[in-house]
Amino acid sequence: MNVWTIVLIASVAVLALKLVGYAVPTSLVEKPGPARISSLLTVALLSALIAVQTFVSSGHTLALDARLPALLVAAGLFALRVPFILVLVAAATTAAVIRMLT
């Protein structure tokens, strides 16, 4: 599969999900089950992506490197309610400095 195919299939599918929501009856939201699972699905995927991007190197091997301290700095700053964009800059800077020094 080439990258253009991946980009277009994924984009149309994500857009379709938004459209579907405007077509289904509102009463579906009142059911707690689907809403709870969908909300937890977001949590699980975000957390799994963070973990893979922090601990996995080149797809398969586990590694501890500059990415972990950068993530810890980000977590600390989010806990202190520092604005989003500043946290990103701090995390990137942390990783860049550690890589420069090691």
Partner: protein
């Protein structure tokens, strides 16, 4: 059109959220080209998919697995996009209107437009908040994606500047406000462990999808449904 004080407050909220989120489009653009997409593929994602979490998920999986991880990349983006469908269900009665307007609204239905809208107290301000935030972020996000993609091409190795770490931090920023009770915290920890443990053995992209099972299990059976702040009190009562 004259604005009520409530609508002015909604516009101010839109501006604050819109400008911050747009700025972060620059890191999406730079990371996307670093993940092997070209500038046009990167810009089409922001124009057509227009959902930050799904976009980052797609390029994240492609960065580690390449085009052969295509289906896993698509599945990650789609699963993260399911929450937009729920936002649509919530927004439909607030926005009302014709089908043509709903088609347009669907494209702008994202975390931020829904959050700003539902935070307003009357229906006029809710509509104002939704449209202002949605349109503002759509324009800003797309412009900054293009700038970031050009910049990414220019600087070459984004790892040297720590931009890969910024991507994980960006996901953490989306995750953080959702960790307010025990249930999502358990799901987050469980999903992270599952994804890391499975990574050495599975093709890239699949560990992240496998982690979704944690959410389906915990959500389906409604395990760990107590509130976080109640837990220590209950534990103390049981101990005494």
């Amino acid at each position: 059109m004259p604005r009520s004080p409530d609508q002015s407050a909604a516009v101010r909220a839109s501006l604050a959220v819109g400008l911050a989120v747009s700025a972060y489009g620059i890191s999406f653009g730079a990371l996307s080209v670093a993940s092997g997409l070209d500038i046009w593929q990167t810009c089409v994602l922001s124009l057509l998919m227009f959902s930050g979490g799904s976009q980052f998920a797609l390029i994240g999986v492609l960065a580690t697995g390449g085009a052969s991880a295509g289906w896993a990349a698509i599945a990650s983006a789609v699963l993260l996009g399911t929450r937009n469908g729920l936002y649509s269900i919530r927004m439909a009665p607030i926005l009302g209107g014709t089908w043509r307007r709903r088609l347009l609204a669907a494209h702008f239905t994202i975390d931020e437009s829904t959050a700003v809208s539902t935070a307003q107290t009357n229906s006029g301000a809710q509509r104002t908040g939704f449209w202002w935030t949605g349109v503002l972020i759509f324009v800003g996000w797309n412009v900054m994606t293009f700038v970031g993609a050009e910049l990414g091409n220019l600087i070459g190795d984004v790892r040297q500047y720590g931009l890969d770490a910024a991507a994980a931090a960006a996901f953490l920023g989306l995750l953080w406000p959702r960790l307010k009770s025990l249930q999502p915290v358990v799901v987050a920890v469980g999903a992270a462990v599952v994804a890391v443990v499975l990574s050495p053995g599975l093709p890239p992209g699949l560990p992240v999808l496998a982690a979704a099972i944690v959410a389906v299990a915990v959500g389906g059976f409604n395990w760990f449904a107590r509130k976080l702040d109640v837990a220590p009190v209950e534990a103390a009562e049981r101990a005494s």
